[in-house]
């Protein structure tokens, strides 16, 4: 994926969500993944999934794990 296609906004949003669920008891990545499924349009999810598949630079560990579970 080219640098120009880096979905900065989505990466930022995913990390924000991960920071919340990281503080919750239980499986943080599961919480993030469910949040993405519940509130993100499929195109947005596809974009972040593709970014992770291309290396996922910028995604925090919990966000990266959660995005991985969307596949």
């Amino acid at each position: 994926m080219s640098a120009a296609a880096r979905p900065d906004r989505l990466i930022y949003m995913a990390n924000q969500i991960a920071r919340f669920f990281d503080d919750q008891p239980g499986d943080a990545a599961a919480g993030v993944a469910q949040h993405l499924k519940s509130f993100w349009d499929p195109q947005m999810r596809a974009e972040i999934v593709a970014w992770r598949a291309a290396g996922g630079e910028g995604l925090d560990p919990v966000a990266r794990e959660a995005v991985g579970r969307l596949v």
Partner: protein, 946 residues
């Protein structure tokens, strides 16, 4: 349409044991404490009166309501004399008539002759008692005094005033501003605004309570003088804030004369503010667009076309875009200014016709975190109480809200409860959590027990610190928590907040709130009796907006302040139908009644009713639509009643998104700022011109009634229906009541709602169904909607919007009393006399450092952009904090706000922007360019010659 008549019972209702008495021989039973005047009125006996009215406490000054009581000497005033068991009252006798006639003559001696419009109670009483003149000399004290015409909406003519004090008492008891007083003594006494000032320059907030109270037309609406007294009226619901005041819209012929707050209105109980009562002139403003217009590109002038052509053109464009880019390139946005039925139709059209969930509403940018936070913790997205609940609160917490400006009629109710404390009548103590010293902190007879003036962006840290005190000092309502809440979640939460890093002492450096003050506030909230939290956009419009809402719910659950009157978690909704728009399935992940689109059973219900498949995946939110547009994937947008260019954050990004679309349809009253990027303009109807319902902040569903025909030709639901039909998804509703019937069939919380029910009951609060046929004033009585209440760990995370050397100040934004939202309506009324422009509030220290003086032009710059406006130097804001409003497009405060948003909902972080302020000598380049572009974009091509 006849005139809606209201009967004045003379003094307020009381609650007490039944008392039996006779009045003119008729047996009457009324509650203990009732006045004789009211008891007689209840029995259908009208005792003459002037200074008494049932919205005000008895005053006993006019001496017209005198009566005779068997076994008692003299002629006591019926208004000030309570009933007693077995009392025998006479309201008519030769002596009483003689005394009353004499009193009337005395009043007439100081009441200038005036045209009889049938509304002067003194003239009516004189006629009833056969008094045709006065034997007494004229009232030199008031004749010839100048008439005060300074207020744009009403006049005060002292020559007609009988100094009965109804206006003064209304300002005191109903509005709570105390702007009026009686100045002087004896014949020289007169009503005075402020300290003998004009009404306009005094502290008067122009709520109109004094005008409504005046019995002699000394205070009267200018429209009544200009048009004449109304001859018919219709009850409807205000189109402004989330309080949802009901009014009698009073007309003469087909012309609206005035809006009079309806006494039976369950949200406002006969009170109003300057917007609802007076600011309706925009409906006939010269800038209102009444004919549809289209253009092929935003660089061209608009071309006026027929409705048929506009609808056909829009349908063809949407079909073209669907064919080329797919249905996911299309979406719709509704406004909380639209009715439930209108918003329901827009989301239905987008979902059923295009098979996508790209629908959103302006609640995205205000209370979407309330939806997420309250659904997660309590089970549904709604305030827990009715407004009347405030009368039973012992402690009131106001967080991130400014009720006297944003929700003025409810603020008056709140002030009555707060004032009762200083007046020895019980009352409530007040905690304000706000960076600014809002009016409630210190207002006549009200003083906050604690004002936690936190740094913008630190709500969650403060809320968690409050929880820390409650947990570590053993102030938890353990019985409530054990019975009503999920205990494991509670334990995790309690362990979290009890950490020493969350103590007030540890967080003081971050929040700026003194630890001792915060501890005292926490103790008061937890132990002060019934404690209610009211919050606004100062809570939601943050990167942790949803977290803060959940932190508030945690506090309420921990202290047992839910499920009964006087308590609760109460979001103050900004616009009139925020609650309703959210209820109606306007969010891209939910169908009506907050049911997720992924729920198969719910989808099946809608698919059967609509005859179309529903996408099980969430659609795009407003900011996602704009991002997708900039990326080239989103091409067509139907915007009903919303001005996203002015109201949404980071104006340049919004403009870029709109400019990237191929068909932007604006359905509105005016060529608003978003219309600069529009390709189709569909003229909308005002709330006066349509039928429907609004749902206010207390979940109260109320009728909006068509008062005058729509100047644009159609009600808004009819326009959406035309568009849907042209798009190939026919709709054939004949009246909005049929739309509500469909909503009720598909929405369990609305199952029993119908226009017939609303006619019978006046209004009803959802849930309204078989389990609660009369509605639900207070929610979560026995159990939470979700079952057990869920405590959520709410760790404070600092916003990424940081101050630094380049941008050292924090900007927060809000609204003022006289203006509403982006000002599209109120800027087109006389309300501009109170707010001609947005100004920047800046602390004296910050102003001095920058060489800024009062009224100087200053440049307000952030990482997103800059604008200029005038400075107002005030210590209402703390050092390091600046504040402005967003009512004027010439300022466009949202040029400065950023893309940061709530983690859960994308609600923008309007309340925290790092900025710099510097002296300036005029508009920025951007403002000048925008003004020129806006002028170009609003051009309308002349009609071709015949």
């Amino acid at each position: 349409m006849a005139r809606v008549l209201e009967f004045d019972l003379g003094t307020p209702e009381t609650v007490g044991e039944p008392i039996g008495l006779t009045i003119d021989g008729a047996a009457v039973t009324v509650p203990e404490g009732t006045s004789i005047l009211r008891a007689a009125a209840v029995a259908g006996i009208a005792i003459p009166k002037l200074c008494a009215t049932d919205s005000l406490d008895a005053f006993g000054s006019c001496r017209l309501c005198l009566v005779e009581i068997e076994g008692r000497a003299g002629t006591p005033a019926a208004c000030a004399t309570p009933v007693a068991p077995g009392m025998a009252v006479r309201t008519r006798s030769a002596q009483l008539d003689r005394v009353r006639r004499n009193v009337i003559e005395l009043y007439l001696s100081d009441h200038a002759a005036h045209p009889d419009r049938g509304e002067c109670e003194l003239c009516a009483q004189a006629a009833a008692l056969g008094v045709r003149g006065s034997r007494y000399a004229g009232g030199a004290a008031h004749d010839g005094l100048p008439c005060d015409e300074s207020n744009p909406y009403f006049v005060f003519d002292p020559a007609r005033c009988i100094v009965c004090s109804r206006c003064v008492r209304a300002c005191d008891e109903v509005q709570g501003t105390l702007a009026l007083t009686i100045e002087g003594r004896g014949f020289a006494s007169k009503v005075s605004a402020g300290q003998d000032e004009l009404f306009l320059s005094s502290e008067c907030v122009s709520c109109g309570a004094c005008v409504q109270a005046c019995p002699t037309e000394a205070l009267v609406e200018k429209a009544v003088l200009e048009v004449g007294p109304p001859d018919r009226s219709e009850v409807t619901t205000c189109g402004y804030c989330g309080v949802g005041c009901t009014f009698k819209a009073e007309l003469r012929d087909d012309r609206l004369v005035r809006m009079v707050p309806w006494k039976d209105g369950k949200a406002n109980h006969g009170h109003s503010c300057v917007k609802g009562r007076f600011a309706w002139g925009y409906a006939s403003h010269r800038e209102r667009v009444l004919e549809p217009m289209i253009r092929t590109s935003i660089g061209e002038p608009w071309r006026t076309v027929s409705w048929d052509e506009a609808i056909a053109h829009t349908a063809a464009e949407f079909a073209r875009i669907e064919a080329r880019y797919g249905a996911h390139a299309i979406g719709g946005i509704t406004s909380s200014r639209c009715t439930n039925e209108e918003t329901y139709l827009v989301q239905k059209m987008i979902r059923a016709r295009f098979g996508v969930n790209n629908v959103d509403t302006c609640a995205r940018v205000c209370h979407s975190p309330t939806g997420y936070g309250l659904k997660t913790t309590l089970g549904t997205s709604a305030g827990t109480q009715d407004f009347d609940s405030v009368e039973q609160a012992d402690v009131i917490v106001v967080i991130g809200a400014n009720p006297t400006d944003g929700h003025p009629v409810f603020a008056s109710r709140m002030k009555q409860r707060l004032r009762a404390l200083s007046e020895g009548g019980g009352g409530a103590k007040l905690i304000v959590i706000d960076p600014r010293r809002i009016d409630l902190v210190r207002t006549p007879h009200v003083r906050a027990a604690h004002h936690l003036a936190l740094r913008p962006g630190t709500n969650v840290a403060v809320l968690v610190a409050l929880a820390h005190v409650i947990v570590t000092e053993g102030l938890i309502d353990e019985a409530f928590v054990r019975e009503r809440c999920a205990i494991e979640d509670f334990q995790a939460w309690a362990e979290h907040v009890a950490g020493p890093e969350h103590s007030p002492e540890a967080t003081e450096a971050v929040t700026g709130v003194p630890a001792g003050e915060l501890r005292a506030a926490a103790r008061l909230y937890a132990t002060g009796g019934a404690a209610a939290i009211y919050y606004g956009l100062g809570v939601t419009e943050h990167s942790q907006g949803s977290t803060a809402v959940m932190a508030i719910a945690n506090l309420a659950m921990a202290t047992g302040n839910l499920g009964k009157p006087g308590v609760g978690v109460n979001p103050l909704r900004g616009q009139n139908n925020v609650q309703g728009a959210c209820d109606m399935g306007s969010f891209p992940h939910e169908l009506t009644g907050y049911r997720h689109v992924s729920d198969e059973a719910t989808r099946a219900l809608f698919e059967a009713a609509w005859g179309a498949p529903i996408d099980p995946e969430p659609g795009l939110r407003i900011p996602n639509m704009l991002d997708a547009a900039v990326a080239g994937r989103f091409k067509a947008l139907y915007v009903q009643g919303e001005d996203i260019l002015q109201s949404d954050p980071n104006t340049k990004h919004v403009a870029a998104g709109l400019a990237a679309m191929e068909c932007v349809v604006i359905h509105d009253l005016f060529l608003n700022e978003t219309a600069n990027y529009g390709h189709v303009f569909l003229p909308g109807s005002t709330f006066l011109e349509k039928d429907g319902t609004f749902t206010n902040a207390e979940r109260r569903i109320q009728r909006v009634r068509r008062v005058i025909p729509p100047k644009n030709g159609f009600e808004d639901w009819e326009i959406t229906q035309k568009l849907s039909t042209a798009l190939g998804y026919p709709m054939a509703y004949e009246h909005p009541s049929q739309i509500m019937d469909e909503i009720a069939r598909l929405t369990p919380t609305f199952a029993s709602v119908s226009y017939d029910l609303l006619e019978r009951e006046g209004s009803v609060q959802w849930p309204c169904n078989a389990a609660a046929p009369a509605g639900t004033p207070v929610m979560h009585l026995e159990r939470f909607v979700r079952g057990l209440g869920k405590f959520v760990v709410t760790e404070y995370l600092a916003t990424d919007e940081k101050v630094g050397p380049r941008f050292p100040l924090l900007l927060t934004t809000g609204r003022i009393l006289s203006q509403y939202n982006v000002g599209a309506q109120t800027r087109r009324t006389e309300n501009v006399v109170w707010h001609e422009e947005d100004v920047l509030e800046i602390h004296p220290h910050d102003a001095e450092e920058r060489g800024v003086r009062e009224r100087d032009w200053v440049q307000l710059a952030s990482r997103a952009g800059s604008t200029t406006l005038r400075a107002r130097i005030t210590d209402r804001v703390a050092p390091g904090v600046v504040y402005t409003t967003f009512h004027h497009p010439s300022t466009q405060a949202n040029v400065v706000t950023t893309d940061y948003s709530d983690w859960a909902t994308n609600c923008p972080e309007y309340k925290v922007t790092a900025v710099q302020v510097a002296p300036s000598n005029g508009p920025t380049d951007w403002q000048e360019r925008y003004e020129a572009m806006s002028a170009r974009s609003r051009r309308i091509a002349p009609e071709p010659a015949e």
